[in-house]
């Protein structure tokens, strides 16, 4: 087994272990267990980052051009988002949905061919890398917002003691949406500039570009909803859930159901 495969499988096992530890901690509330779970996530994230770095160096470009690489990079973005929230707010099991999604993506990616394809000239531009990186970071943050929104709704219904307070969940949800919107805006800007240098126009009416613009507008609207009292809390949580459904459709649905002239559709 080569080093990349070792790191990849190692991070998968460690992420899985950390999920078990977090679940145990959610029941038992042992600070040591939480520290152990956090440590496991950090080691797993380190392995995955190293694997990503090695593949990047070997390819000479950030490998995000085939299904394996995009699944792998999306999983890395989800883990990075989880690590950010966990280190900053000690989110623990409140972000577990993101970790489970990460595990699912790795599980789908593992049996696939991980060889790095030669880069075609069309994709040989830093604009492509920036476009993809920021869009996956944006998607990962929207996934985190979804996770927090669902927990917020559960918390409001059951006032579950094991979950963080609803005001904290609400605040973190808003942060995830705002950060996601910022990254997604950068992704759209780099993507538009790339479209201009590749096709001679910066907005294409292909389904994927249309849905990306639509998601961007939707989340721009959400950035304002949090300032309006009536939309805060429950309304905002539902908006986050619907927003993530739009994201999922753009990432998966369009690729699976429709044909598009977008280079990565």
């Amino acid at each position: 087994m080569d080093i990349n495969a070792l790191l990849l499988h190692g991070s998968f096992v460690l992420y899985g272990l950390s999920v078990l530890l977090y679940v145990a901690n959610a029941r038992l509330h042992w600070p040591r267990l939480h520290r152990l779970a956090l440590g496991t996530v950090l080691v797993a994230f380190g392995c995955q980052s190293l694997c990503l770095g090695l593949r990047w160096v070997a390819a000479g470009y950030l490998p995000v051009t085939n299904l394996f690489s995009t699944l792998f990079f999306f999983s890395w973005s989800l883990a990075a988002t989880y690590v950010y929230f966990e280190l900053r707010y000690r989110l623990a099991s409140a972000g577990l949905f993101v970790m489970l999604l990460n595990l699912l993506l790795l599980y789908i990616a593992l049996p696939r061919d991980s060889t790095i394809p030669a880069l075609i000239p069309m994709l040989d531009t830093p604009l492509f890398t920036l476009h993809v990186v920021f869009s996956f970071l944006g998607y990962a943050l929207f996934a985190m917002a979804f996770s927090l929104a669902v927990l917020y709704l559960i918390q409001r219904k059951t006032s579950g003691l094991l979950l963080p307070s609803s005001s904290m969940l609400k605040q973190l949800n808003e942060e995830a949406i705002f950060l996601g919107f910022c990254f997604f805006t950068l992704s759209m800007l780099f993507g538009s500039y790339w479209a201009y240098v590749a096709w001679g126009y910066y907005f294409s009416w292909n389904i994927k570009a249309l849905w990306s613009a639509l998601i961007w507008l939707y989340f721009a609207g959400m950035c304002h909803a949090k300032f309006i009292r009536r939309w805060q809390g429950t309304g905002y949580a539902w908006l986050s859930i619907f927003g993530f459904a739009l994201v999922l459709f753009t990432y998966l649905g369009i690729g699976l159901l429709m044909s598009s002239s977008h280079p990565l559709a």
Partner: protein
């Protein structure tokens, strides 16, 4: 009354309503695109307004999503403009929101730029041009494009992977810019963009041996025969059935080599001239044979044509300014977001 109207125009509720409505209309539109791909897949081939005029005869009630979506975005842009103006009026106390309002300004600029490009822009693809040739830039009087050199690039498998066209943009006789255009590296000048599209090969004649001498038979070539007679190649046609149709738009080179023919001028030592058709598949005409013109081992001669895409979008520089404003705004508002988070304070809107 005026104050109320202004407040309505600046209202964040209007923003949420407009963004939600635009999202819903665009979802509906994407379903239309999916159900009618032949029609909507041509949307990128022309600026939006020109495409819409061409599309109108086939338009039905369901296609109203395009003007509806455009109208909603214009309203959103006006709404954002009012907010931006309102912010400028209170700049003294609200300058800290610079980042957020740069995002707003960027959005306004991009919408104006897109509308401008959709109304006054031009898109033209498959402009065929051979090395050394000059073509006029479509709908841009006085501007020309010269192809200095062209080199298609191939993968080891033989698959074409890129096309390197060294082109010069001319305004009259004046050279404005020379660049090698290839994927992701267009020639840009103001709102003009020249990009590689594809390439094609056009047969321009044959290489052959005439009386043990290797010669190239192509338009303009002259061959002196041992008898002292001269053969001038006046014309070459890859397919005699399509004379006059072998060069389409801007000299498009797209005629396959089916039934090639030469129009030759035979001038004898006594200076009398005859024009003779030499249809390759039918063999050399008797008059030419008699004069000693016996071409053998004919192999086709090809010329490469670069097929360039030439687009003009007068709004592109403004859109770039909008994009930069937005990117800067994102960075600044990320900073101010964390400052706000640190102070844990919010601005609640009514």
């Amino acid at each position: 009354m005026l104050r109320q109207l202004w407040n309505f125009c600046c209202s964040a509720k209007a923003t949420i309503i407009l963004t939600s409505a635009t999202t819903l209309v665009a979802i509906f539109g994407s379903a239309q695109i999916m159900h009618n791909p032949q029609l909507f897949s041509t949307m990128d081939s022309k600026p939006l307004l020109e495409w819409w005029y061409g599309y109108l005869p086939q338009a039905n009630i369901y296609s109203l999503w395009i003007p509806l979506c455009s109208a909603l975005i214009v309203l959103l842009c006006l709404n954002t403009l009012c907010c931006f103006v309102d912010w400028i009026c209170h700049l003294g106390s609200r300058w800290r929101k610079m980042g957020e309002y740069l995002i707003h300004l960027g959005f306004i600029l991009v919408v104006i730029a897109y509308a401008w490009g959709s109304i006054y822009g031009m898109r033209s693809s498959n402009n065929s041009i051979a090395e050394g040739e000059i073509i006029a830039i479509p709908s841009q009087r006085g501007y020309f494009l010269r192809l200095n050199s062209f080199a298609p690039q191939f993968a080891p498998s033989g698959r074409p992977v890129d096309m390197l066209s060294n082109v010069t943009l001319l305004k009259g006789d004046q050279e404005l810019k020379t660049t090698t255009v290839c994927f992701n590296h267009p020639l840009t000048h103001g709102g003009l963009a020249v990009l590689p599209g594809s390439y094609t090969q056009q047969a321009v004649g044959f290489s052959c041996s005439v009386n043990q001498q290797q010669v190239e038979l192509k338009q303009g070539s002259t061959h002196i025969l041992p008898s002292g007679a001269r053969v001038n190649v006046l014309e070459f046609h890859p397919d005699i059935q399509y004379i006059g149709r072998d060069r389409g738009k801007n000299g498009a080179a797209n005629m396959p080599l089916r039934n090639p023919a030469f129009l030759l001028e035979l001038s004898g030592p006594t200076k009398e001239r005859k024009t003779i058709w030499y249809v390759v598949k039918q063999g050399v005409p008797q008059q030419l044979l008699a004069a000693g013109f016996t071409p053998q081992r004919l192999t086709p001669l090809y010329k490469n044509y670069s097929q360039l895409t030439i687009n003009r979008d007068p709004g592109a520089p403004l859109a770039a300014a909008g994009g930069i404003a937005m990117a800067l705004g994102v960075l600044l508002s990320l900073r101010s977001f964390y400052v706000k988070r640190f102070r844990n304070s919010y601005t609640y809107l009514p």
